[in-house]
């Protein structure tokens, strides 16, 4: 699956810059949720990398716009987006936690099954390293 989420090419008014980046983050998280829900890990690494990059962008945009007054509509949209992002990221974290747990459990049980018998003393050279 490809993730076609492009950054806007046209210049965006300052007060909307943060919203645009937040929308991009939301779209990326939607892609991640789709992959996690369908059990398709193939493109998760790439999406995850882009989510991290976009999250950094959100941080820098927020810092730059820190003192810029926002209209009530923009503030409301921002709050709504942040709430949605919180839910999306919580779901992603919950799913990843489950995947990790699942993989670890299988790994542990498989390791347990094939764990070699350990010798308390080194093997006699006659019994090992035969071609």
């Amino acid at each position: 699956m490809s993730t076609k989420i492009e950054s806007p090419s046209n210049p965006v008014p300052h007060e909307f810059q943060e919203l645009v980046v937040l929308e991009t983050l939301k779209a990326l998280l939607t892609v991640a949720i789709r992959s996690l829900s369908r059990g398709e890990p193939a493109n998760l690494a790439e999406v995850s990398r882009r989510i991290n990059a976009t999250a950094d962008e959100v941080m820098s945009t927020s810092l730059n716009l820190g003192r810029l007054p926002l209209t009530p509509e923009t503030q409301q949209r921002r709050r709504k987006l942040l709430a949605e992002l919180r839910q999306q990221s919580s779901f992603c974290r919950a799913m990843l936690r489950r995947w990790r747990r699942s993989i670890l459990l299988r790994q542990q049980l498989l390791d347990l099954a094939i764990e070699p018998v350990t010798y308390t003393e080194p093997l006699d050279p006659r019994w090992c390293c035969h071609e």
């Binding site: 996690l36 829900s37 059990g39 919580s90 779901f91 919950a94 799913m95 936690r97 489950r98 747990r101």
Partner: protein, 456 residues
């Protein structure tokens, strides 16, 4: 060389083995849409050869058993996730009830606090106006009623969860009893026996059902299973089940869960029971404490401010609210005065003074509970209730999604594939036909031999 009758016996064995294959395949097809069914396959093994004169003659095939195709790791993962799902579901249900008690709109405690301070502002325009004074007392009563209502309903939610704990423990006992009975049945059966796989399926389904109710660890010794809670309380061992019991804990006033006399209430961490206990013993009491803290802080601050002023008769202000503190403060919050003239609005004893109303109004911006103003403290309660539901719902959604993925994986291992069964059906049919043909051939050869003997 083997005799003709020996060859006949090999062919008969082949018929029997292929018939078992056909039966198993037919059973798989019949259970194509049966929930929880695990597909089976016959395990055929070459019979031990007979050695005669240094030559080993094959003795055909023997049916070793009927094998259910299971992935025990997947079953364990499904059990773990079912526990998580049961817990989240019970927790979300409980916290959704609590969330309705702390609305973030024009109803509830937040609005009543706001109305009360608004009524003080209105009175400040005409402090001797009895109608306005009555409005302040009405607003104070409404605020107290809102606290009483929320506290009582929070207790009611907790009581209802308490009943659910008792009921769920009963369901756990019923299921563990059924699992123990199945353990007994399975111990008496050979794995090749007809219906062995069905009993295994029934037991697996019950274990999954049990996982939805309580945290379970499964120890499988091949035939029998032992079930314990994650913390080690035994639920089933071979053919014996160990019932959970509930009893009222005098200290907390709620039902505690016991296993063989030991209190395991604090050790249950999963399933519906885990979710109920988390809400009943952790989240709801924490919210109750915060509500009580807000009520007592608000009452103390308003009484202190009221005591600084003078009523319409020139007397020093008494308590505006009956003093409350600690546990139960919100439930017992009540206005101490009913006569509007006793409202201490004046700061100097004159009827026209509204100086003390400023003191009372200032409480709106004072830290009354855990360093927060009344509005902030209530907002915190709203946030906590909302977060509990939201976080729980996220966990529940993730569990549902994960379970779906695990069940799909399980279906690919244990589910019935019609294509595969159709091809197996043909395979066993052809093998059966060939074995039957071998019997016919041997029969003809025997007849020839008999006729040869008769012709002599």
């Amino acid at each position: 060389m083997s005799s003709l009758l020996g060859t006949m016996s090999i062919a008969m064995g082949a018929l029997e083995a292929q018939q078992a294959g056909l039966e198993t395949t037919t059973n798989n097809i019949a259970n194509l849409n049966t929930p929880g069914y695990t597909r089976e396959r016959p395990v055929l093994q070459e019979a031990d050869p007979i050695i005669n004169g240094g030559i080993a003659y094959g003795e055909g095939v023997k049916l070793q058993g009927i094998e259910s195709l299971r992935d025990s790791i997947l079953e364990l993962q499904i059990s773990n996730e079912t526990q998580q799902q049961g817990q989240s579901q019970a927790y979300v249900n409980a916290m959704s009830q609590a969330q309705t008690l702390f609305p973030d709109d024009t109803s509830g405690i937040g609005q009543q606090i706001s109305n009360f301070f608004q009524s003080l502002n209105s009175l400040s325009t005409d402090p001797s106006n009895l109608a306005l004074r009555q409005s302040v007392l009405s607003a104070a009563n409404s605020m107290a009623s809102a606290f009483n209502g929320a506290a009582n309903q929070l207790s009611a939610v907790r009581s209802s969860l308490d009943q659910n704990v008792e009921q769920t423990a009963g369901e756990v006992n019923q299921i563990t009893q059924e699992i123990a009975n199945l353990n007994t049945k399975l111990a008496k059966l050979n794995s090749t026996a007809q219906g062995y796989g069905s009993f295994l399926d029934q037991r697996d389904n019950l274990v999954q059902k049990l996982s939805g109710l309580i945290d379970v660890s499964v120890i499988n010794d091949g035939t029998s299973i032992t079930l314990t809670t994650k913390q080690g309380a035994t639920l089933v061992a071979d053919g014996q089940s160990f019932a959970l019991s509930t009893a009222l804990d005098p200290a907390s006033g709620v039902q505690h869960v016991y296993s063989q006399g030991a209190d395991i209430t604090g050790k249950i961490s999963g399933g519906e029971l885990g979710g109920l206990l988390q809400a009943r013993d952790q989240t709801l009491p924490a919210m109750q404490t915060q509500l009580d803290s807000l009520a007592s802080g608000l009452v103390q601050a308003l009484n202190a401010a009221h005591a600084q002023g003078f009523d319409l008769n020139g007397n020093a202000g008494g308590n505006l609210f009956s003093p409350v503190s600690g546990a139960g403060a919100a439930a017992s919050m009540a206005v101490a005065i009913s006569d509007p003239t006793l409202l201490a609005a004046s700061s100097d004893g004159t009827t026209g003074s509204n100086g003390n109303l400023a003191n009372l109004s200032a409480v709106a911006n004072q830290a009354v509970s855990n360093g927060m103003t009344p509005t902030e403290a209530y907002g915190n309660l709203v946030f906590q209730a909302g977060s509990a539901v939201s976080d729980g719902t996220t966990e529940l959604n993730a569990s549902n999604t994960m379970l779906q993925q695990l069940q799909q994986q399980q279906a690919s291992v244990s589910g019935v594939s019609l294509d595969e069964e159709a091809s197996n059906l043909l395979l066993y049919q052809r093998a059966y036909q060939a074995a039957a043909q071998a019997i016919t051939t041997v029969d003809q050869m025997l007849q020839t031999a008999i006729q040869m003997g008769a012709g002599k």
